[in-house]
Subunit: 203 residues, 2 copies
DNA sequence: GCAATAACTTGACACTGTCAAGATAGCTCC
DNA sequence: GGAGCTATCTTGACAGTGTCAAGTTATTGC
């Protein structure tokens, strides 16, 4: 007569997506440490072990969240690229702006995917999203790579710069909302550094 | 008659340091996720709640480990600085090399202190160590800061670059031990980028 | 030697990830 | 339209975790 289970959700497969939504919300509310399978389940109105069915374990859920993070990251960059001209450097600046757009629109995902935390690298959804993000960088950098040098050198240079810059911008914005650096200033800084290198004759 | 407690350690206050040692070892063996108060206690031969006395909570232990990480980080940079000449750029290169030395000598601490994880910012030991590290960067950058610009701009530029570079070097070393970029290559890359900026007339 | 305090230990509780087993909703097939 | 089948969950259990309160003992100060 009385059923022993108390199903609250429709079994339509929508839970998987709801759990990712809940995870992103948790990241935003409590930071990376606050992410928990049980809390996500509760937030999505499911039982405590429900996430296990879709993601197997915590790393699985984290990986799914990171995959979404990378997809949104790609969207931010391609959006800026679509507005940019054809000049190679304009396009490089465009993806950098996309990077900053992403960091300010989804700070919790930005911090999460670049936290250094390990994800399931076998996961196809995650791999394609992450690879696509890096592919955008690679293609945008390609025309600027000096002949005979490893493309990865320029890629990591740009990646490091914009990442450190975004990180700084985020933390500074928190302390001082109206303050903000702009890319041209970075360009002039690099020019300055290069002058220092030249005067030293080491290049 | 029979004692209810079973003390195994001398109560000489050495536990605090042993717990930090255990924590560093755990980080090395199992990564940041493997760090746990109870495991550290067990590794140090103490009871499960002993760390609570010295560090109050997990963040307290993490902060103490990070403080040690920053101290070793400072040592690596000052070591290289002591061997460098007086030229401002040589000194900048020296702290970058120190950064790389540190990353390869203590990869687990390197990853830990720069993981983006929050530490107890009120902790005096941690604050002074972290501030000292940033002070070394600031002082070394100071002579190279363009007149009228915010010193923080150059600092974050250098910091981002060397961090991204160290990160790349670490991951590459794992795949391809004999491969390694050198700083001069980075310098020439920046020169190249600056030329691109100039030809565009945007600087 | 005695009291005070520092440096722990023990025990408990709530919470977590993860697994095994059960239940049921919705589909397919006859 | 009923019988099964399977995807999609729920329940229950267990070991591990952080953290607190209370007890115990070694060491110190007098």
């Amino acid at each position: 007569m009385t059923s022993t289970t108390s199903p609250r959700r429709k079994r339509d497969g929508s839970l998987r997506n709801d759990l990712i939504d809940a995870g992103v919300a948790l990241l935003r509310e409590r930071g990376a440490d606050g992410l928990s399978l049980r809390e996500c389940a509760s937030k999505a109105g499911a039982s405590h072990a429900a996430p296990g069915y879709h993601f197997k374990n915590l790393m699985g859920l984290s990986t799914a969240i990171a995959a979404r993070g990378y997809r949104l990251f790609c969207e931010a960059m391609t959006q800026r690229l679509s507005e940019a001209g054809e000049d190679s450097f304009s396009r490089l600046e465009a993806i950098c702006h996309g990077y900053l757009d992403y960091a300010s629109a989804y700070p919790e995902l930005f911090l999460f995917i670049f936290s250094g935390q390990k994800f399931n690298e076998g996961d196809e959804e995650f791999d394609t999203a992450a690879r696509k993000a890096y592919g955008i960088l690679r293609e945008t950098c390609a025309p600027l790579v000096p002949a005979g040098s490893d493309p990865a050198d320029l890629e990591i240079l740009v990646w490091s710069l914009v990442h450190g810059y975004a990180h700084l911008t985020m933390t500074r914005k928190k302390e001082n909302p109206e303050l903000g650096l702009t890319w041209p200033e970075l360009g002039s800084l690099m020019k300055h550094l290069e002058r220092a290198l030249q005067s030293r004759g080491s290049v």
